[in-house]
């Protein structure tokens, strides 16, 4: 990063390769919009170029990048307030996994995550997917370390509840479908 800061633009390509996918996932899981996420990733790198002098050597670079990433998203939604709420259809497709049960769990988890308020979704993404340390998140969000711990715990509690509600709903639907199949239709061949 120091090379980028001192004007070596080529080094930014290395940073792009390293951070493009994590940043893209941060945005796509937060907004559910692939195109917007790609635009925002480009904006982050343009800002890194523009504001590289503001990076202080010795401070965590990852936290600095995510500070830029959060600001880019906030600025975007300030200019263009979101018109539609996140629809489950906008979620990225779940790739086939080894077992059907695991695939269903992933789907439910994605939906549960999208049901969380944005700030809770964001803090879970930062610590679980972007693997930021709690200290880094505290700096990023401008709060105390203990506040970060409390927020993560609450977000996780809410996620657990949302996941269980969705799982319960799915089980009920399955049970209804199974019951409907087991009752022979009136006038069907089972009737004597």
């Amino acid at each position: 990063m120091l090379q980028v800061r001192d004007g070596a633009g080529e080094t930014l390509g290395v940073l792009f390769d390293r951070y493009q996918t994590p940043l893209f996932n941060f945005y796509s899981k937060l907004t559910g919009d692939r195109t917007l996420s790609e635009d925002l990733v480009q904006e982050v790198f343009l800002r890194i170029l523009k504001y590289r002098q503001s990076y202080r050597p010795g401070t965590p670079f990852r936290a600095w990048v995510y500070q830029i990433a959060r600001n880019a998203r906030i600025d975007h939604f300030r200019k263009f307030p979101p018109q539609t709420a996140l629809e489950p259809e906008m979620l990225p497709p779940v790739l086939p996994t080894d077992s059907a049960q695991e695939q269903q769990e992933v789907e439910l988890l994605q939906r549960a995550l999208q049901q969380l308020p944005e700030e809770k979704r964001e803090i879970l993404l930062l610590c679980r997917f972007q693997e930021l340390k709690y200290e880094e998140i505290a700096v990023l969000l401008g709060c105390e370390l203990n506040t970060v711990r409390t927020r993560i715990h609450r977000a996780l509690q809410d996620l657990r509840k949302a996941f269980h509600q969705l799982a319960h709903g799915t089980m009920l639907k399955k049970a209804e479908a199974a019951a409907a199949e087991s009752i022979p239709p009136r006038g069907g061949r089972h009737e004597v």
Binding site: G7, Q20, R34, Q42, V106, R128
Partner: protein, 270 residues
Amino acid sequence: MKCEHIAELLPDYLQGRLSAEQHHNVEAHLEQCADCSEEVVIWRKLSLLPVDQPDPASRARFEAMLQAYKAGRSNQPEGGTEWRKRASVWSWNVFHWLRSPLGAAAWGAALLAIGVFAGLRLAGPKPPSLDLAAMQSELASMKQLVVLSMLQQQSASARLEGVTWSTRDQQLDPQVLSALLHTLRYDASVDVRLAALDALSRHGRQPQVHKAILDSLQQQQSPLVQVALIDLLLEWRDPDAAQRLQALQQAPNLNPTVRQRVEWARSKLN
């Protein structure tokens, strides 16, 4: 240990940052408490979520942005870091000043003066020199700056003017292209979006522009822009036209007029 006590330790437990004794206490609690242990299970399940892969074209877009940025920087003279810092602050102030009405008037006058000067040089008997080439390049970068600045304006008519400015050049700068695509997707005014579409469609022969324009169809909310994009699909005889139209037709809450247009376009394709 009670759940409230565990709640304080759980986030650190999840990141493996507890002392051996605390770790043992938490595990003992988790064996007895279903709610807390489910939280741990959910945390672990989060790792099952797939990693979304960005479009491979993103890298090319990044390179284009980097080149445009470097091209803009190369016009500045080389100097020490301290000098560059000062220059950057100075250029930032100048940029702000240029966005003011007085700055815009000054820009206009400067451009006119350069235009007249360049015109005189071109009309003169002397063959084109290196100076002239440098001036032309400077003029092009000024135009680009004016377009980018105008596309950021609050007033829709100023943004509209910015789009019109962008059509004056035969070659589309990558940064201007990116700004126009952004305008096409997100501008609050339908008129500005339509103008951006018109400006971009002139460069539809470039595969990258072609694809980006048609990709914006799925996100468009305005029926007018949707209809204009459908017409472009037909005009360009896009190979994926049938697929794109079918996807649009399945969109919920599609405007009836647009739906009618999609059906018409599909019948034309067949």
